[in-house]
C-alpha cells in the first residue's frame, strides 16, 4: 500500500498559499463613489400631468455627474427603476475610467485579459515547437534505422 506520509506534508505546506490566493487580481479600492448631490437626473417622461393621467412608453434615464460633466443615457429596460440603477452603474464606470485611467476596474480587466491571451498564445507556440521537435527527432531516428 502506498504511503501518503511523504505527500501530505508538502500538500499541507502549500495549502495556506492556495487558500490565501485572491480570486481576482482586480483592485476595486479606488472606484469612485457617486454623491447624490453631484448628480442631475432626468427621466424622459415629458411634461404634462404625469401619473395616472398619462401613459407613455418612453422611460429613458439621463444621468449627469455635474463636477465632471460626464453623462450617460440608459433605456435598456422598460422599467424606470431598472434604468436608473443601470445608469448609475454605467456612470460609475465612466467616472472610474476618467479618474483612475489605466487603473480603472474596466482597464484592469482589459489588461488581465490581454495577459491571459498572451500566455495562451505562448503555450500554444511552445506546444507547436515541441511537437515539431519531436516529429523531426522521429524522422531522423527512422532514417538512421534504415541506413543501418
Amino acid at each position: 500500500m502506498l504511503s501518503l506520509r511523504p505527500v501530505l506534508p508538502s500538500l499541507l505546506r502549500s495549502l495556506p498559499s492556495i487558500l490565501s490566493r485572491p480570486k481576482s487580481h482586480i483592485d476595486k479600492s479606488s472606484v469612485p463613489r457617486l454623491d447624490q448631490a453631484d448628480l442631475q437626473e432626468k427621466v424622459t417622461l415629458g411634461s404634462g400631468p404625469g401619473g395616472q393621467a398619462v401613459n407613455k412608453t418612453a422611460n429613458a434615464v439621463f444621468l449627469k455627474h455635474l463636477p465632471t460633466g460626464l453623462w450617460v443615457k440608459c433605456h435598456q429596460t422598460r422599467s424606470v427603476e431598472m434604468n436608473r440603477k443601470i445608469a448609475k452603474q454605467l456612470l460609475v464606470i465612466k467616472l472610474d475610467n476618467l479618474v483612475n485611467g489605466e487603473n480603472s476596474v474596466e482597464n484592469q480587466k482589459k489588461t488581465s485579459e490581454k495577459i491571459k491571451l498572451e500566455r495562451k498564445k505562448d503555450k500554444t507556440r511552445s506546444k507547436y515547437e515541441q511537437r515539431k521537435l519531436e516529429s523531426l527527432k522521429e524522422q531522423s531516428e527512422g532514417q538512421d534505422g534504415e541506413i543501418s
Binding site: E41, V43, G50, Q52, N55, T57, R78, E81
Partner: protein
C-alpha cells in the same frame, strides 16, 4: 367610441381573451405589398411615418416596439416574453417574412386605433418584475415604481420566522404588490380589488411569478360603510395607487387611456378623493398605532387633503409628502395616531 365597443374591438383585433388560443386576425382586408422586399430599417421608417401621419403619440418608439414584436417566433406572441424596443436590431434576417409582415400589419392597425403599446405587447416591466397586461385593466405607470421603494424602505429588517402582513387597495394588474413581494421573502399581501378583470389578472400575474402562497386577492369595493370580507383584523402597512384623477380632467385623457383602460381605475370624483377617503378610513381600522398608509395621489391632494381629514372621523394624520422623479408631489404617507 363607447367604452364597451372599444373593449370588444380590443379583444377582436388583438385576440386578448384569457382562454383563447392566439390567432392572427386582421381588422382590415388589405394585405401588405411584399414585392419590394424593404429592409427592416425601411420598414421601421414606413411604420413611423404611418403612425406619425395619424398623430399617434411616440410614433418612432411605438414603431420599434411593433417591429420587434412581430419578429418574435409566432408561439412567443402574447407570452410573458419581454420585447424591448431595440430587439429588432438583433434580428438575424434583414427582411420580414410574409407571416411577419402580416403580423406587423395587424399590430400597426392596433396602434393606429390608439391601443397602448403595452396592451399590444401583452406584457410590461415594472420595477424589478415583468407582468402581463391586458385591457381594460390599468397599465402600471413608471411613477408608481417609487411607491414600491417607499413601502420597502419603511419596513423593519426581516426577522427569521416572522412575516409582515400588508394590505393593498386596488392592485389592478398586481404590479405593486408583486414587485414588493419579489423584493422581500418575509412579506404576505392581501389585495382588495373591485374589478373582476383585475382580480383575474392579479391572480394570473401572481401565478406567473410563483407568489401564489404570499398574495391573496379579495374582490370588493372600498367605499363608505363597506363591509369587506376576507380581510385580516390588522395589517402592518396599507398602500394604494387609487383612482385619483379629478372628474374634470377625466375627459382630457388621451384615447390610449379613455378608450382602453377601465375608467373606474382613474376616476376619483369631483376632487379626486372619492376612493382615497374611504381608503383612509379603512386604514384607520386596520392599522396599529403608528402604522402607515402610503398613497399615490394627484399633486393637488397634499394641499386639499389635510382639511378634508379634519372633517373625517379618523385617527389618520398626514406624516409626509414625497415627490416623484419629475418633482411633482406624488405620494402621501399617513400615520395612525
Amino acid at each position: 367610441m363607447s367604452f364597451l365597443m372599444s373593449r370588444a374591438l380590443a379583444r377582436l383585433v388583438c385576440g386578448h381573451h384569457r382562454h383563447s388560443v392566439l390567432s392572427v386576425r386582421t381588422c382590415s382586408t388589405q394585405t401588405p405589398d411584399s414585392s419590394t422586399h424593404p429592409t427592416l430599417s425601411q420598414v421601421l421608417d414606413n411604420v413611423t411615418s404611418q403612425l406619425s401621419a395619424a398623430q399617434v403619440p411616440e410614433p418612432a418608439l411605438s414603431a420599434q416596439y411593433l417591429l420587434s414584436c412581430c419578429l418574435l417566433p409566432q408561439a412567443d406572441l402574447h407570452s410573458a416574453r419581454p420585447v424591448l424596443a431595440q430587439d429588432w436590431r438583433q434580428a438575424p434576417a434583414q427582411h420580414l417574412s410574409p407571416a411577419q409582415a402580416t403580423t406587423l400589419h395587424r399590430l400597426v392597425q392596433c396602434r393606429l386605433a390608439r391601443m397602448p403599446v403595452q396592451y399590444i405587447l401583452g406584457n410590461w416591466d415594472f420595477h424589478n418584475i415583468t407582468i402581463q397586461v391586458r385591457p381594460p385593466v390599468f397599465i402600471p405607470r413608471p411613477e408608481t415604481e417609487q411607491l414600491v421603494d417607499l413601502v420597502l424602505s419603511s419596513l423593519p429588517p426581516p426577522v427569521p420566522g416572522q412575516h409582515l402582513h400588508l394590505l393593498e387597495v386596488g392592485p389592478g394588474s398586481g404590479a405593486v404588490s408583486l414587485a414588493i413581494l419579489s423584493a422581500r421573502q418575509d412579506l404576505l399581501v392581501t389585495c382588495v380589488e373591485r374589478s373582476q378583470a383585475a382580480v383575474e389578472l392579479t391572480r394570473d400575474n401572481t401565478s406567473l411569478l410563483g407568489l401564489v402562497d404570499r398574495l391573496e386577492v379579495v374582490q370588493g369595493k372600498v367605499e363608505p360603510g363597506a363591509q369587506l370580507e376576507g380581510l385580516h383584523e390588522e395589517y402592518h402597512l396599507v398602500f394604494s395607487n387609487p383612482p385619483y384623477i379629478l372628474r374634470k380632467d377625466l375627459m382630457a385623457l388621451e384615447p390610449e387611456i379613455s378608450l382602453y383602460e377601465d375608467l373606474r381605475a382613474l376616476d376619483g370624483g369631483a376632487k379626486g378623493l372619492d376612493v382615497i377617503l374611504p381608503i383612509i378610513e379603512l386604514a384607520g381600522e386596520k392599522l396599529p398605532k403608528g402604522g402607515l398608509l402610503m398613497l399615490e395621489v394627484d399633486p393637488c391632494h397634499p394641499h386639499i387633503l389635510p382639511t378634508k381629514l379634519e372633517s373625517l372621523d379618523t385617527s389618520m394624520v398626514v406624516d409626509r409628502v414625497v415627490e416623484d422623479f419629475t418633482g411633482k408631489e406624488r405620494f402621501m404617507v399617513l400615520r395612525k395616531t
